[in-house]
Symmetry: C2
Subunit: 325 residues, 2 copies
């Protein structure tokens, strides 16, 4: 662990560098909030994994854009796998809200060098990635240009049987921090092949006191920090527990990068496991039955820290994948 | 007019050149149709201006992606104007289905050289372009990279008071072909500043026998051909009528390009006027009151032709803006 950069340090760096996706989203939330997108009245706040489509909260939607050279590499990945990922990142957002995906649209800017078959494979990947989870591709927009390929998928999801969307602002001090699976080292392959946690999300909301969820797209620490920020609390991770949630890919990657594997677990993006806040009184047996791994707890304040094996608390640096630096 | 390329000539060129957006969409329609997106049972067919979001046809959605250097030029256009266009092209799709826009999402891949203010201006353009027409920007996805900026907006729209979406497959031989305004030469400025024809669309569906609509994004001839293809009929344009529907920008542009202004009217893209099929018995006075311009009529067969001032019919070459050649 490096000396630590807390939330306030992150905000400081934002002042020095007025760019950064976090700052952009904060500015947008402030401006768009004025247009009526507020957390008030039970509405899903701007910046959650999905936005409201119907204002009764029964229909949600989300969009994600993937770019060649940033989110995928067509020299390495098949076009079908790329299409599947473009769908899966959106399904992961559905999982994070406990929504059931229903239908999708897909817009592409294809590099002109692609063949017809490659273009079709890309869209087939989107279609099949959705059908696996009952989400039908309904239409889209096809464009081409001489620059790298871009694909943006939009997915609509519905809330079942009167359930409210699980937002990221519902965590409270005293809640436990869980992960739906081990994390880190996704770049070795899992960032292209992960399974969106729709099934476990559905099971959790019916069997466990789920207070908040988010999917790990930009790193456990950064995404957990977003839950803390939205919920108005802090979190303390337990190093011994985190050690048990390190994916074997993080250990393998660590041998190449020389970084501690726990750093890969905490800071690598694109794991697409869910971070879950579970309220008090949760049955540990039930949690492990569902495959959940506890890694810490939410605490009062706004600090993000790690309780080391030596029992000492150290601040966690808030960093991870951030666009637009 | 050049010697003419009919529909079948276009299909021939597709065989020689197996790429092209039209061929891609046809292939996708065939493949995705198998997944249940069919014209059967009153459902909106794949490839219309909007797709169904709810299968009762009450909620539709559409997505459009704009790319730097293809759809806009940030050296010339302000970021706010670019954002407005990204919204407006989607609102134009709503107009073409006679849907009322409700809410939007926006995904961007920002070129890393953009400043925070430029990024905000882009999104403000999207937001304000929507609010003008009651369409609220609810969320999205922010990314950045070193390549040119891409923006994809998705808009959901609802059908009011039991109305069905106006599809592009409802034209019948004998229907008249109308435009909601003069066309051609949009590149001079209107492609960035056009007003989506939501108001006139709403008025038309309540006051006139509207059978089919499409917006002119890729050129009058190409988009009219799409209506003909979907509807199973042909169309004959009347040169004298078309002459009256040439935008003054087409005349101005003609002086620079040396092309006849009628060619600009027929083949330039991004006019975002609506092509409307009106059934028999329509009151011409009502049409001109609404600002509609008749340019021809739908006929049996599958040919697209122009009746010249000399009374002779010539086939119209089916071409226009097509991606992925």
């Amino acid at each position: 662990m490096e000396p630590v950069q807390s939330k306030s340090a992150a905000q400081e760096s934002e002042v020095k560098n007025p760019k950064g996706e976090l700052a952009l989203i904060r500015r947008l939330a402030a401006e768009l909030g004025c247009a009526g997108i507020e957390a008030a009245g039970g509405r899903v706040p701007f910046g959650d994994d999905m936005a409201e489509l119907s204002t009764d909260g029964k229909l949600l939607w989300t969009t994600d854009m993937l770019m060649e050279g940033v989110d995928f590499d067509s020299r390495v990945h098949t076009w079908r796998a790329i299409g599947r990922k473009a769908m899966a990142v959106n399904l992961s957002d559905c999982a994070a809200m406990a929504a059931t995906p229903v239908a999708a649209l897909c817009a592409v800017a294809l590099n002109n060098a692609l063949s017809m078959e490659e273009a079709l494979e890309l869209i087939r990947g989107v279609r099949d990635g959705g059908l696996e989870f009952g989400c039908e591709l309904r239409g889209g927009d096809t464009n081409s240009w001489n620059e790298p390929t871009v694909i943006a998928v939009t997915v609509a999801g519905r809330m079942d049987s009167g359930r409210a969307p699980v937002r990221r602002d519902g965590a409270r001090a005293g809640d436990a921090v869980y992960l739906t699976g081990p994390v880190g080292g996704s770049i070795l392959a899992r960032h292209m092949t992960f399974c969106p946690r729709l099934d476990v999300a559905r099971r959790m909301v019916s069997e466990l006191p789920v207070r908040a969820m988010v999917d790990v797209s930009d790193g456990v620490v950064l995404d957990l920090w977003r839950v803390c920020q939205a919920s108005g609390c802090g979190a303390v991770l337990d190093e011994q527990l985190v050690e048990r949630a390190i994916h074997e890919d993080a250990h393998r990657l660590s041998q190449t990068t020389g970084q501690p594997s726990i750093d890969h677990a905490l800071y690598d993006g694109e794991d697409y496991e869910l971070i879950v806040a579970l309220g008090a009184g949760v049955d540990p047996a039930k949690c492990s039955e569902v495959g959940l791994l506890q890694i810490g707890e939410f605490v009062p304040g706004d600090e993000l820290a790690m309780r080391g094996v030596d029992g000492r608390r150290r601040r966690l640096e808030v960093r991870g994948w951030e666009h637009f630096r």
